[in-house]
């Protein structure tokens, strides 16, 4: 009886691992193809061969030079850094009172913030652009074709506020009591006690913001006119024209664009998973 049960469990485990392996392979195949295609000649991409007959390292050089990748890469890094810093700061400052302070209308404010998650980005594009245009005309520094338009509109993220708020609600009340006894107010409590505990959710928010910023295309095209502040996604767009695509160069560019995202993820993957799961524990 017991050996039957063990055999059944083994079969079940085997089936689960097989299913997971198939899913893993399915998810990995596009990345593998992207990498292989980045080393192919154009003819090989058209003939859809599985692997290149000869590694074409020059594709990376061509992609870097022809699409001005150096500049776009630098821009993307800078935009991402500014956006991540701003999002972390403002989301934390917004989440803390929603999680830890009692005031009239707190829940309504949080509901309104959550409701904005349901508004599609395309709907807010025009009002955002009008706002940024107005600021461009009336502020002492340029907004359009400059870093403010690319970063400031995204420093208030409803999702980030929600994630951090959920985590902050899980901080024990006793910690706050102890901090108050020591004479700490909310600001000191937030930055000296809570912040060190928030590593996982902050890294998660940072990761999501970084990916969103790195992949953005529509908004940067809208608010920039010259390459000065354009991100790497615009560089990739240049390999596709109305008449055809240079897939080999496009994939080389895509690999270059993907490396930072992968690096960041590998560095923080443990905290990332922890942050996501923690946000679901308290409601």
């Amino acid at each position: 009886m017991e050996s039957k049960s063990i055999t059944k469990r083994r079969w079940l485990l085997g089936a689960v691992y097989t299913g997971l392996s198939i899913s893993a392979v399915t998810a990995t195949v596009p990345f593998v193809w992207m990498l292989l295609a980045s080393f192919m000649t154009r003819g090989e991409t058209l003939r859809r061969v599985f692997a290149p007959s000869e590694i074409q390292w020059k594709n990376y050089l061509l992609a870097w030079e022809e699409a001005d990748f150096g500049l776009y890469f630098e821009n993307s890094l800078l935009i991402a850094a500014l956006q991540v810093s701003g999002t972390l700061l403002f989301s934390l400052l917004a989440a803390y009172p929603l999680a830890r302070m009692e005031f009239r209308g707190r829940d309504i404010v949080f509901a309104v913030i959550l409701a904005t998650l349901m508004i599609p980005e395309t709907v807010t594009m025009v009002p955002n652009f009008l706002t940024v245009s107005w600021l461009n005309r009336h502020s002492p520094f340029a907004w359009l074709n400059n870093w403010p338009a690319l970063t400031v509109p995204f420093m208030g993220s409803a999702f980030s506020i929600f994630l951090l708020r959920q985590f902050l609600r899980g901080i024990p009340l006793e910690l706050w009591d102890a901090a108050r006894i020591d004479g700490a107010g909310h600001v000191r409590f937030l930055f000296q006690i809570v912040l060190p505990l928030c590593r996982a959710p902050l890294l998660t928010v940072g990761m999501f913001t970084f990916i969103g910023s790195w992949n953005a295309l529509g908004w940067p095209l809208l608010v920039t006119n010259t390459p000065d502040w354009r991100p790497i996604s615009v560089g990739l767009l240049q390999f596709v024209s109305e008449a055809g695509a240079e897939v080999h160069l496009q994939m080389a560019g895509a690999v270059i664009a993907t490396i930072p995202v992968l690096l960041v993820y590998f560095l923080i993957q443990r905290e990332f998973t922890e942050g996501i799961s923690m946000s679901g524990l308290k409601g």
């Binding site: 509901a111 409701a115 709907v123 009002p127 095209l221 008449a243």
Partner: protein, 443 residues
């Protein structure tokens, strides 16, 4: 319970407010009539939004820099890459509301009409007619009139053509010889026979002889337009007041495709540029595509199986060849009179034969002036595919240039999907015609 209802109500109210703000109508400016002859375009800056990238952009920038160096008015043009046509359309739609327009923008005819209706671009006709700044009678006559007419909507010239492309039939010369044919198909019946034979007899050089057929049909309005035009039909009635899809020409075109798909002599394109790829590897005998794709086909074949290929006019059921001619034009944005005139002067210079020849060589587009042929003799000799298509410029016909056509293109593509999957022609075409004509009621 009350708290939740309150929250829901506030959330819904906020969303509604956002929609209303986002959908607000821009105020129309009052048109001031200005005497163009008296305007001074000196030292104006012209910002030009376009979709060209990489080599084409380099060639365009070279031309722009030459204009900046040589024009006597001190006009400075600055070119800006703005993504694809749809990206430019989005940006223009937002810019018209936000008041940050360029001076010159690339736009398809239906897009330019939408900009004109929103007061974003101006009528170019007065500039063309101007005694001081406009086109002489000889210059006007040198333009291929069909191209100029494409941008003319009831007397309003919303765009000016800088170049054009046309839809041609790419064919595998070597494979046709193997099938026993010495020339490409002239009629659609011949085309169908050749597709069936290609299905039965794969190309000798193909590395995948299991999959061989005549043609990959892209479910796109322009492909259907070619098939209909070459049967003597059109998408609209003569005075462009109604769409006409339930016609013998449309029915014949779609019926033939449906039959060939059923026989597996034709298949549908399931990913972008698939027909180009399959042609390059010898799996498809024909491809129906724009001439702007010539360099891509050249590369696809040269890097692939390196067989002999060429282009011809699409098959037809009428006496003379007919080619679907298309391409985006240049529209003058509503800025200041001086900037508008400066912009027109750049456009006029760009469409002169010398510049047209340089642009044609760099971009593979076709020029809009007949006399450009004199400047392109060597290029035509070196590029037989381009030369073959060049001779067809006089046989051009274009798709509707009416507001809302972009949406109708999507409806046409959906109808083609239904037909390809075996849908009833009567039902699909009647429905398509009804839905398309509804869009005209809105404008």
């Amino acid at each position: 319970m009350n708290k939740n209802i309150t929250r829901l109500a506030i959330g819904a109210g906020l969303m509604a407010l956002t929609y209303l703000v986002a959908c607000g109508e821009a105020e129309r400016s009052t048109t001031v009539v200005v005497d163009i002859e008296q305007v001074d375009p000196s030292s104006q800056e012209v910002v030009f939004w376009y979709q060209h990238s990489r080599q084409r952009e380099e060639a365009l920038v070279e031309l722009i820099e030459e204009y900046n160096r040589t024009n006597v008015h001190g006009i400075k043009v600055r070119g800006e890459y703005m993504g694809g046509y749809d990206d430019i359309y989005n940006k223009m739609s937002v810019a018209i509301q936000g008041g940050t327009l360029p001076q010159l923008v690339v736009a398809y005819q239906n897009q330019a009409l939408a900009y004109f209706e929103a007061d974003g671009v101006v009528d170019i006709a007065p500039y063309m007619r101007s005694k001081k700044w406009g086109l002489s009678a000889a210059e006007n006559a040198d333009f291929i009139q069909a191209f100029l007419q494409q941008d003319n909507n009831k007397g309003v010239q919303t765009g000016f053509p800088p170049n054009r492309s046309m839809e041609v039939l790419y064919y595998n010369v070597d494979w046709l010889k193997e099938l026993g044919y010495a020339r490409p198909p002239v009629t659609w019946d011949e085309f169908a026979d050749m597709c069936r034979k290609a299905k039965a007899q794969p190309f000798s050089k193909s590395t995948d002889k299991e999959h061989s057929l005549g043609f990959f049909l892209e479910l796109d309005a322009s492909r259907l337009a070619t098939m209909v035009f070459t049967r003597g039909g059109d998408f609209m009635n003569a005075d462009k007041t109604a769409y006409t899809f339930n016609t013998p020409q449309v029915r014949q075109a779609l019926q033939l495709m449906q039959d060939l798909i059923r026989e597996k002599a034709v298949d549908i394109v399931s990913e972008r540029y698939m027909d180009q790829q399959e042609f390059g590897v010898g799996k498809a005998l024909f491809a129906l595509r724009s001439t702007s794709g010539l360099p891509f086909f050249k590369s696809a074949v040269a890097d692939g199986l390196d067989f002999a290929w060429s282009v011809s006019a699409p098959p037809r059921q009428v006496d003379d060849p007919v080619v679907n001619v298309y391409g985006a034009s240049l529209s003058l944005c509503r800025t200041t009179p001086a900037q508008q005139l400066a912009t027109w002067l750049f456009v006029k210079w760009f469409t002169q034969p010398q510049q047209q020849a340089r642009w044609a060589r760099a971009s593979n587009y076709f020029p809009v002036r007949k006399s450009t042929a004199n400047e392109l003799k060597e290029y035509l000799a070196e590029n037989p595919g381009y030369a073959a298509a060049f001779k067809l410029l006089d046989y051009g016909k274009s798709e509707p240039a009416v507001q809302g056509y972009q949406g109708v293109r999507k409806m046409i593509a959906d109808a083609m999907v239904d037909i390809a999957e075996g849908g009833d022609l009567d039902d699909v075409l009647s429905n398509l015609e009804r839905q398309a004509n509804k869009t005209l009621e809105r404008f």
